[in-house]
């Protein structure tokens, strides 16, 4: 499906969505509050059928955080990118781990690296960082490692 068709389809599902076509794939900006219901529609809509979440990550823009989800359809082979802006102070978003099960691990990674709180996540614990990790989230831009080898 071309980007134009995707656009019209998605506008039907979520009129509030804004689009950005500067990248390779269609970027869709959604509000964190509407993300969960929108994700369910993307997954279950027969003509979209985005059943393959291949990348879920987060970007720290210092002023705010951006959640980035790369979705693909194994049936129609089209890709989209979903972005939602989060508050830097208290980032919160609904978990989609029951829609795409792979999101479980990816969200846990984002949780510990960026401190994004995923609501209704089944098992939101530290995955990579050692238990009892104190301090800032390592992938945030304001995190300074005391032993950074590169900046010798």
């Amino acid at each position: 499906m071309s980007n134009e068709e995707l656009k019209t389809k998605i506008t039907e599902l979520l009129p509030a969505a804004t689009f950005d076509e500067s990248g390779e794939w269609l970027n869709i900006n959604v509000e964190p509050s509407s993300w969960l219901s929108f994700a369910g529609k993307l997954r279950n809509n027969d003509s979209l059928f985005f059943d393959y979440l291949f990348c879920l990550t987060c970007i720290d823009w210092k002023t705010h955080l951006t959640m980035v989800c790369h979705l693909s359809s194994t049936k129609y082979r089209h890709n989209i990118v979903i972005k939602s802006k989060l508050d830097a102070g208290k980032p919160e978003i609904e978990s989609v781990s029951h829609i795409w099960k792979t999101a479980d691990f990816h969200e846990r990674e984002v949780y510990e690296m960026f401190g994004v709180n995923f609501l209704n996540h089944p098992d939101l614990r530290l995955l990579i960082l050692p238990d009892g990790w104190e301090g800032k989230n390592p992938m945030r831009k304001d995190f300074e490692d005391a032993v950074n080898m590169i900046k010798l």
């Binding site: 990248g23 291949f54 990550t57 479980d104 691990f105 960082l129 590169i150």
Partner: protein
Amino acid sequence: MHLVITLNGETIKKVEPHLGFIHRSIEKMCESLTYRQFIYVTSRMDYLSAHINNQACALCVEKGMQIEVPERAQVIRTIMAELTRIASHELWWGAMAMDIGAFTPFFHAFREREKINDIMEETCGARLTMNYMVPGGVMIDLHPDFQRKVKEFITLFKLKIHEYDELVTGNIIFRNRMKDVGFLSKEDAISYGCSGPAARGSGVSCDIRKLYPYDAYNKVQFEEVIETAGDSLARYMIRIKEMNQSVHIIEQLIDNIPEGDFQAKTKAVLKLPKGEFYTRVETARGELGVYIVSEGATTPYRIKFRSPGFSNLSALDHMARGSKLGDLVAMMGTLDLVIPDIDR
């Protein structure tokens, strides 16, 4: 990696991976490295397909810079990537058999892998972490002996590949250990974000080389190996057949390496334009995604590696529940987990 397993006798109730024991935060490291420098770090992620990782990064930078890669470089990259894939699958095959309890295949697999490593050493200067790909092509031209050595290797490999079937695949104990173990349905494989042989074993067509061809993959004929059984044996068979396909790809390219530059002319300092770039390649374990967010500086603003092992690992708990402890090692073997790839 540390797996916490809840057992009832010998039956697995729950598997909980604890990660991060070798986490080096490569993504964070890359934020302070330039676009030429960060490629070498990615060899340390999935060290068994170091070439393909480097290739993914180089491709992503090329996409951002819109560098036209010379055909010769493309073909060299493809051959190298396929050699890496064979080497990786060889090691996997040996380690897999070792997990199941047979030691001998490990050494037999290393015999052929050693030949590939020698070829790599001769051309790239290293055996494991080559750092041979640079944005715009490859670092050095091929060694004059490269073609001859690769052809020798292919002849040898074709003589030896049936031994793998004799030693392991045809073994009745092995088949019993693998059959109907670690079942992963097609829907689950997609939902867990599995890729590579782990997903293809469940009948999901997900070979990036076919779907989104990069480098010289659109110039060669090969089949995407798909099995529908979804058990460990299917994933095993896929890798064995994939080795044959890789040999097939190399055979097509090795005599037709075009003349020309091995590297495109690039500026001394690379600066990606502002924007976001995502490339996907097929490593030996599955789909590797490189996601670069650039602010127009010489270093990436944010870089994310979507590693295949991380997603494949998340399916382990689902697969393992209700099976025996001995099956767990078989499942982990067929998922082909490389821990630095998961931890990054």
